[in-house]
């Protein structure tokens, strides 16, 4: 009898939580799979004519430069390499597979398959970056056209796609800031930048790498810094403000123009970190608030996939006044002919090899082309709709709060706090996340430091349906209930994931940490046999 199965999937008219279990292959490390003599792929052998003419090439190597022992790589047949990495891929929860709203600040959205297929065509994949310009007119046109799109989306005047991802774009803008002040003879005087604690850690770290001292502003009850705090921080030492808006709380700073003015009045520049642009595409622009520079992540906001942490893709933009400092080359057009311009004497030079992650630019371009102006606005509006809907659902969970700006709507994400629940149950945000993994979803606490106690950041982009959001909310509601009714099950989670709780001790102990298999084996040998 098959009828009646479906009704057992519901309780009180609501769909039950999934009886999820992630793949658990208990897969060995690849070195343990080695079978001496096996081959995964055979390199093409040079023809006899080449071998004979070239002779013993290894004898041409200088003394000591011929490798004595072959590298101790594993030896596996092709299908065994494939199987091993397919199993490991199954032990990974991509955004295509889960309701990935728990990776707040990272704008997890659908990366269209068609765009991925297009970048795998030879017309993209098999291009050498140093080919003659007349043979790469197609990709240069894509880069040129996408720059025009970002100019419209931001209101700024020029963009480069050379940075490899968002942080490198921030770094690029930090170098532009440095070059700008140097051009005015103020490089050594202006040695401070200002950022906020709810802006990405890289706003602070990249500026520091570029040589700046970092001043960090903290929020007041509204969730963003008080204007007076900024006024107290600026001086004739201020090189720039690097700021996100909305910040990682999802709260838009309505006085942002005054922030920009204050810094401009002191002679500094203003960089807009647009990692959080998803909810404001077509609503408000960097130029409208007076910013000199901005950046976008092409993964995240513009749909290129995240690739387990890259390759990403980034665009760094600026006003015409700063364009002379952009990295070389820029992409230029002369009639129907596209070319690369290296003759830019004031340029900061290079920040990355070649022209950045060109396939990410292609994916981002295709994504915008699939949406147009109306579609981009729809992206923003639905991202904001989804976020406020989820906020409403979250507010039904006892012990969870959304600090700051009480009662106001948020833009595209919310930084929540489980502090009340933790106080009551001693179950922490991290525990809740690991328990959520038992139901097949990803969850992340927040960037450090935890200014919001026991944080959780949810960013339900336009890619998720109402049903998805309801499911995510139901999972968190259930886990919060468990924290009260059966806290141990939460504290010892995950149970249905690929592995169980990791003992982090060895990871911070130089005697035990092992970043490679060989280091692990060596340290095992050095330590001797385990106690019985």
């Amino acid at each position: 009898m098959t009828q009646g199965i479906s009704r057992h999937r519901f309780s009180d008219g609501e769909l039950n939580l999934r009886r999820f279990h992630q793949a658990r292959w208990d897969e060995p490390v690849i070195f343990e799979l080695t079978e001496p003599g096996q081959r995964g792929v055979l390199p093409p052998e040079p023809e006899a004519g080449i071998r004979e003419a070239a002779g013993d090439v290894l004898a041409t190597l200088p003394q000591g430069m011929h490798r004595k022992r072959p590298p101790a790589l594993p030896e596996l047949s092709q299908v065994h390499v494939l199987r091993h990495y397919l199993r490991l891929s199954q032990e990974n929860l991509g955004a295509d597979i889960n309701i990935d709203v728990g990776q707040g600040t990272c704008t997890m959205k659908y990366s269209p398959k068609v765009n991925d297929q297009l970048t795998r065509l030879p017309g993209m994949a098999e291009l050498h970056p140093l080919q003659d310009v007349e043979t790469v007119q197609g990709i240069l046109e894509v880069m040129y056209r996408f720059e025009q799109m970002l100019k419209e989306i931001s209101g700024l005047d020029r963009f480069t796609f050379q940075p490899g991802a968002g942080s490198q774009a921030i770094y690029t803008c930090a170098l532009i800031i440095r070059a700008y002040h140097a051009s005015r003879g103020e490089a050594s005087q202006r040695d401070e930048v200002i950022t906020t604690i709810f802006s990405h850690p890289s706003d602070a770290a990249c500026a520091k790498t570029a040589g700046y001292k970092v001043l960090t502003l903290y929020p007041d009850a509204n969730g963003y810094p008080d204007l007076d705090a900024l006024k107290a921080a600026v001086s004739d030492r201020t090189a720039a403000l690097l700021i996100t808006n909305p910040e990682d709380t999802g709260i838009f700073n309505p006085r942002i123009s005054q922030f920009v003015e204050t810094v401009h009045d002191a002679g500094g520049l203003c960089f807009y970190d647009q990692a959080n642009a998803n909810g404001i595409l077509g609503i408000t622009r960097a130029r409208d608030a007076g910013f000199d520079m901005c950046h976008f992540n092409l993964h995240k906001t513009f749909s290129a996939p995240h690739g387990c942490g890259g390759p990403g893709g980034a665009a760094a933009g600026c006003t015409e006044a700063l364009a002379r400092f952009l990295p070389v080359p820029t992409v230029e057009r002369n009639g129907d002919y596209y070319y690369l311009d290296y003759h830019r004497p004031d340029s900061i030079g290079k920040v990355r090899s070649f022209y950045g992650v060109a396939p990410a630019v292609l994916k981002a371009y295709a994504w915008v082309m699939s949406l147009g102006g109306d579609g981009l606005r729809e992206v923003a509006e639905v991202a904001v709709l989804n976020n406020n809907y989820l906020l409403r659902r979250m507010q039904e969970i006892p012990g969870l709060r959304a600090p700051y700006a009480e009662g106001q709507h948020r833009i595209e994400q919310v930084r929540y706090s489980w502090a009340e629940l933790c106080e009551e149950t001693d179950v922490h945000s991290e525990d809740i996340g690991l328990r959520a993994a038992d139901f097949g979803v990803h969850y992340w606490t927040s960037h450090h430091p935890y200014v919001v106690k026991e944080p959780m950041t949810l960013e339900p982009t336009e890619s998720y349906s109402k049903t998805d959001l309801d499911e995510y909310a139901a999972i968190l509601r259930h886990v919060a209930q468990e924290a009260r009714s059966d806290p141990d099950v939460v504290r010892t989670a995950p149970h249905n994931s690929t592995v169980h709780r990791v003992d982090p001790g060895p990871l911070d102990d130089p005697k035990q940490w092992a970043v490679t298999w060989r280091a692990y084996l060596r340290k095992l040998r050095e330590r001797g046999p385990d106690p019985a």
């Binding site: 041409t60 199954q90 991509g94 068609v114 050498h128 900061i348 082309m369 298999w517 060596r522």
Partner: protein, 465 residues
């Protein structure tokens, strides 16, 4: 006029008007506009973005992008001899199969539980690259070989507490520019010339430049100009004697046949892994690595993530996590080492697959096969009247300089003629290295057949006439 039907966007489930209305009602607002109340009117765009008309159907979008890409001529259709940091190697099918998997392609920053596969694969990547390099610590990939070099020098400065780096002039000028900008706040660079005949960094030159201020000695082996250093061990020894860190950038595809730099005294080894299974992608396949010995003073200076193996609560189960996370900018913002962020993890995963497929024998055959082809090509090009190849007398691996001074033609003339014959000739380096005269940097790999190399030789013969 009929009212335009609202578009339901396939990528935006809640663009469907009915569900949108239900959600707005549950939030308790009349429209989306109310949710933007915090954004002041003065900052509003209040008009439609002026963008090209949307291509709403996937069919139309695909056609449009395919048409744009068809305006490119690819290295499949043409015969390519450009390298200079981005290399045309064979990409095994399994590499593309794995990096196209949704689970890897679309994951991001999950925990070592639901993203166990990412941690284990990147640990295996570091482990296999560690075998190729014979080193114990390898980072999760950073952006590219440029970044790896810049960071290696800054690491050396932090390790030694010194602020000067000596860099061999046989380096990609773009890379040198990036390193210069990267080191500017703290470290001054001195560029050391190379011997014009051999293309080698000379001992005497290094000896004269070294002092107790030297944080790092950086050279490449093979160098940007293709040359294999014959005195690498002596260079490293000199650096060591002055208390400087010896940094060597290396081409990983050479290490099946060439001695790993740690054997001749390198302290930090860095480079780019694009050649280990990544398509060229107009430069989009680059990813950097940094490797060191497993010493705390080195490990604590990495900005990158380092994935380590650890026990779990179940006996015999492998777990993974971040090693010494507290050193990173993720943990302590500007107090961390440089910065860490999204870089090129998927290419690390792909390189793991590549190295597992190749194995020890594959890497050795690859290295020798490349050398046989590059030597064959250099020999045949060098036999053309007026052409000197290789231009340097030193040993070389897959790249070599070809000098055309004796032909009376410029490289740009020759390359234009080659292009007309369907060939991307070697990279023109006459602007980058004017002292080398009318020269080009040629790259030959395992993808080139004898017939293709012979075709190059015939075409060059024709082009120089």
């Amino acid at each position: 006029m009929t009212k335009k039907k609202p578009v339901v966007y396939p990528y935006i489930p809640n663009s469907e008007p009915g569900v949108k209305q239900r959600m707005l009602a549950q939030i308790g607002v009349p429209g989306v506009e109310a949710l933007y109340a915090s954004i002041p009117e003065a900052l509003r765009l209040n008009r439609r973005l002026d963008l090209p008309e949307a291509l709403l159907s996937e069919c139309a979008l695909r056609k449009h992008v395919e048409e744009l890409l068809s305006r490119n001529a690819t290295c499949k259709e043409r015969l390519n001899f450009r390298g200079a940091g981005c290399y045309q190697h064979y990409v095994p099918a399994v590499c593309d199969e794995i990096n196209g998997r949704s689970e890897f392609l679309t994951a991001y920053a999950g925990e070592p539980y639901e993203d166990h596969g990412r941690f284990q694969t990147l640990f295996e990547y570091a482990s296999m690259l560690g075998e190729l390099l014979d080193m114990d610590v390898v980072n999760v990939p950073n952006y590219d070989g440029f970044q790896a070099a810049g960071t290696s020098i800054r690491m050396a400065s932090r390790i030694t507490g010194r602020y000067e780096a000596l860099v061999s002039a046989s380096i990609n000028p773009d890379k040198l520019a990036m390193i210069r900008g990267y080191c500017e706040p703290d470290i001054s660079l001195r560029v050391l010339g190379f011997d014009p005949g051999e293309g080698q960094l000379e001992l005497a030159e290094l000896q004269a430049a070294l002092s107790d201020k030297t944080a790092a000695v950086y050279f490449e082996n093979p160098s940007y100009l293709g040359v294999i250093q014959s005195q690498a061990e002596n260079l490293a020894e000199l650096a060591r004697r002055h208390g400087a860190v010896c940094i060597v950038a290396v081409d990983p595809t050479s290490l099946g046949v060439l001695t790993p730099p740690v054997h001749y005294g390198a302290d930090i080894v860095c480079g780019d892994i694009q050649s280990l299974g990544m398509h060229m992608q107009f430069g989009g396949g680059q990813a950097g690595f940094i490797a060191t010995r497993d010493e705390e003073k080195y490990v604590m200076q990495y900005p990158s993530r380092l994935f380590g193996i650890a026990p779990t609560s179940v006996l015999g189960e492998y777990g993974f996590g971040d090693v010494a996370y507290e050193r990173t900018s993720f943990a302590i913002r500007e107090e961390g080492r440089e910065w860490v962020g999204t870089a090129a993890a998927l290419w690390g995963i792909t390189a793991a697959v590549y190295l597992a497929l190749m194995g020890p024998q594959g890497m050795a055959e690859l290295g020798e096969g490349i050398m046989q082809r590059s030597h064959y090509a250099a020999m045949r090009l060098g036999a053309i009247r007026g052409v000197r190849a290789p231009a340097f007398t030193s040993a070389f691996f897959k790249e070599f300089v070809v000098n055309f001074d004796g032909t009376g033609k410029t490289v740009s003339q020759i390359n234009a003629a080659l292009l007309g014959m369907g060939i991307f000739g070697g990279k023109d380096i006459t602007q980058e290295f004017p002292d080398l005269g009318n020269s080009a940097l040629y790259c030959v790999t395992e993808v080139h057949s004898k017939a293709e190399l012979d075709r190059l030789v015939t075409a060059v013969e024709e082009a120089v006439q």
